[in-house]
Symmetry: C2
């Protein structure tokens, strides 16, 4: 999965993956890999800054915790983030429809 291909869709992915339950950065990376069947292997240098950005935007709420002697920052989806996620899902649909209609080889 190319770098630029993913661009602009990272927010939706991150918000979506913490929808059910709060997760910390490392777990988010694993969740993305698993859910995508291995297609998405996002480096830490992408995820951690992105999580901070989404926290600053008010879509995620981060909290420090300790598990097994290791410090973790766990991110929870806020109400505002839930609304943003809905918007991202809707935008994703429009996006795939638009690109798909151009890419369709039968026209």
């Amino acid at each position: 999965m190319n770098a630029d291909t993913l661009r602009g869709h990272m927010d939706a992915l991150l918000l979506s993956v913490v929808e059910r339950e709060p997760l910390h950065g490392y777990a988010i990376i694993e969740a993305l890999r698993e859910r995508s069947g291995g297609a998405l292997d996002v480096p830490t240098g992408t995820v951690y800054p992105a999580l901070r950005r989404l926290e600053r935007a008010g879509y995620l709420a981060g909290e420090w915790a300790v598990a097994g002697g290791r410090k973790r920052r766990t991110y929870r989806l806020t109400d505002s983030g839930r609304a943003a996620l809905a918007g991202e899902r809707s935008a994703w649909k429009s996006f795939t429809t638009a690109i798909g209609s151009v890419l369709d080889p039968s026209r």
Copy 2:
């Protein structure tokens, strides 16, 4: 349609739109708008440099022409570009599958 959302998919769009018949930049912009039902309105500052880039890459072959007193640079899909387009289409499928599986609200 957000700027970053489109990123990395412009090549596929441009190659796809000149697949059937060669087109010049301005016509390509119109074709993208029409085919996408108005969703894609790509500015000239994006398209013209991108066409040059694809020409440098060998995917498009550009040629100057004059129509109605106006100069046009018409781009034709090369064999190499045709192959690239096939790759882009395949990548698009994988991409939508991967993102879709993460975004799916039912999991």
